[in-house]
Amino acid sequence: MNWIIIENNEKINLSQIPEITIERLREDYKELKHRVIGFFGKNENENIRLYVILADDNEGKLYISSVLFRDNEKSYDSLTKDFPAFHNFEREFYEEFGIEPLNHPWLKPLRQNQDKYSFFEMKGEDVHEVAVGPIHAGVIEPGHFRFMCQGEKVYELEIMLGYQHRGVEELLTKSKANNRLAESVCGDTVIGHNTAYSQVIETLCGTSITDKAQIIRRIALELERIAIHIGDMGAIAGDMAYLPGASIFGVTRTLVINTMLEISGSRFGRGLIDIGGVNFDIKEEISDKIIKMLTEVEKTVDKMTKVMLKKPSCLSRMERTGTVTKEQAQAIGAVGMAARSSGVMIDSRIDFKDKFYKLENLRFSALGDVYSRFYLRYLEIKQSVEAVKDLLKILKEHNNEDLKVEIGDLTPNSFAISITEGWRGEIVHCAITDENGKISRYKIKDPSFNNWYMLSLAVRNNGISDFPLCNKSFNLSYCGNDL
């Protein structure tokens, strides 16, 4: 057996993980055609063990294996040159452990040593470079963008991130329960990251939490999706200087996050989720309020979207701007909402058969442009509104259950993985414990990690003045990538 096959939220003993060679990995990856969702190293005495996790989206299974690099092995033949989806994973592995992927087409820094890197250059009489950031004009996170342009047309955009590297993964190994830190992995995906973190720790402890807590977590997750999607639609309108869109969506988003405030005491749901369950109940009267609010929100979003999609000036900005084809998205391993807008239908809520959801893949014409990403957000808002209404119904059947259960100790020498579909896409959290039952390695993969390169592809051959619009249509996280 080259691979051990497990489900989402399953724990295995470290000794169960098979060991393969890089060449075997290369052949298996080619043969299995599964998606890489984890590729990270861990120190093992003198050696370094590389864990590889592949996701089979059709069956909802996870394939796990490992590659051992002995003390004297400092390089291997890169996988990226055959499978571009590995590009960031290999950069990360190289940066953290110094094992060089030979013939990697573009081995540049991911999070550290940005200043030692000389950027990609284009030569020619008409070519000019525009460098933006890392400090930007708006109140946004730091990230450096370097455009190679001819006149107004962008040939290539190089993105350099890592200015927010905080060492989150290492901090998470320091304590058993640190939900407040997990919430801060990425400020706009509080519920998503916290759910993934809690699940992975609960799995490692062998605790199963009550259905009630599960449902409340999912309601919060969908509310987060609704709120951020509405906010993004407003931001897209704002970037096109379409004032009514920016104001109406902005106001509507507030309704959603204020409801979150009523549930949890925080507009972004901070403090709602803890390991073992949730801290706040959704009672009958709040449930009614949520339904009323969602009905109103859906109506407003419907109306405003229809107005915008009828405006020639809005359509002309969005259509055929920032296109990423399905082939490109698949090749680079894009995930989540952005991938779906290009026609790559992966949604971990559906693929990994979450029993609390009754969702189906959305049907729409996925063109991969800004318009598709705008329209998909609208569809996903409607889908989530229905999902929340459903979840509230099943919540009533679990009224008598506890919000929180006691959790035990972490099982020693184990590996656990949890995937949660945040609003941006799949959030993968993995944890490995040592022989004393302490977390010895924690790994996070935010969807932004996969998707930043999509933005580079999107702006190729577009006007440089359309970059902000493209960027906003992805709305990727800097700190989610930088960790």
Binding site: H128, E129, V130, A131, V132, A137, G138, G151, E152, A237, D239, M240, A241, Y242, L243, P244, A246, S247, I248, V251, K311, S313, C314, S316, R317, T321, G463, I464, S465, D466, F467, P468
Partner: protein
């Protein structure tokens, strides 16, 4: 003399209010209360109290440019018909001086933007220069046609179209208003050509060229920009105010038109998205077409019968 003093006061003060009214209109459409209409004036006072900061890479050109830009706009304003339909200085073909003096100011704003060495400002300058090249001929065609039509070569001829040019005069005025309104949107850097409210350097045109200016310099530039926009509103107003009105009527009428135009600009900004950059050129060419239509109509009026 008395009206000239009133006109001068209007020229210097009303632009602030005009910008304030535009902002208020946008706030109204967005369902917000919005800032006071005097806010642009307060902002100007605040900037005037501040010291200008100069980047080490700039040369003296960058430091003198704001004064040149501002004074060129004021100088150009002297040739524009004000509330009574008379310019401060009425000389033959004032519109040519008007246009070139503004062009002189624009030249300095372009080289001061290039002087900073910033890649954004260079892009802004190239966009601005590109737009101006298309705008200028259209403006000359329109104004030349008016001169031919009214047989008056001064800039006070605008008020003579109404009532003096037969049945098609209304049509000519309508086309001229469209021409000048588009020019107002371009020169005033408003949506759908430019977005004055954006913070995104890559999409800006006018705003990006003044990113490095600060304090007094920035104050002068924003005041100048407001006056420049006001001048195009004044041109539209003088088309609509017939000749021979007593100043007691024409001044309130003038201010009323300025107010309405500000509301219209605010409404345009609130109801449409900004054009894609390549699309803006098509929009500017619309202005050339309306100007050519004016020329056609005038030619028909003179030689057709």
């Amino acid at each position: 003399m008395k009206t000239a003093v009133i006109n001068l006061i209007i020229l210097l003060i009303v632009p602030f209010l005009m910008i304030g009214v535009i902002k208020k209109t946008k706030a109204f459409w967005a369902g917000r209360k919005g800032v006071s209409v005097f806010q642009p004036f307060y902002d100007f006072i605040r900037l005037m109290k501040k010291e200008a900061v100069y980047s080490e890479t700039t040369s003296p050109v960058f430091q003198i440019a704001p004064v040149i830009i501002f004074s060129s706009i004021i100088f150009a304003a002297l040739f524009v018909p004000m509330s009574t339909g008379e310019p401060f200085i009425n000389i033959p073909f004032g519109f040519i001086i008007f246009s070139y003096v503004l062009g002189f100011g624009k030249f300095f704003s372009l080289i001061s933007a290039l002087d900073t060495g910033s890649s954004f400002e260079g892009m802004g300058a190239s966009r601005e220069a590109c737009f101006s090249t298309i705008v200028e001929p259209a403006f000359f065609i329109a104004m030349g046609s008016v001169a031919a039509l009214t047989k008056i070569d001064g800039f006070d001829n605008l008020k003579m179209i109404m009532g003096n040019s037969g049945t098609y005069g209304v049509l000519i005025i309508a086309l001229l208003i469209i021409t000048l309104f588009i020019m107002l949107l371009i020169e005033g850097c408003r949506v759908p050509v430019d977005d004055p409210a954006t913070h995104l350097e890559l999409t800006m045109i006018h705003e990006v060229m003044i990113l490095d200016n600060s304090g007094v310099d920035l104050g002068l530039i924003t005041w100048g920009a407001a006056i420049k926009m006001f001048l195009f509103e004044a041109l539209i107003a003088s088309l609509l105010i017939p000749a021979g009105l007593p100043s007691l009527i024409s001044i309130p009428l003038f201010l009323g038109i300025i107010f309405i135009l500000a509301v219209v600009v605010g409404t345009v900004e609130s109801t449409m998205a900004r054009f894609r950059m390549t699309h803006v050129f098509e929009f500017i060419f619309t202005m050339s077409i309306t100007a050519l239509l004016v020329l056609t109509l005038v030619t028909y009026g003179i030689y057709g019968n």
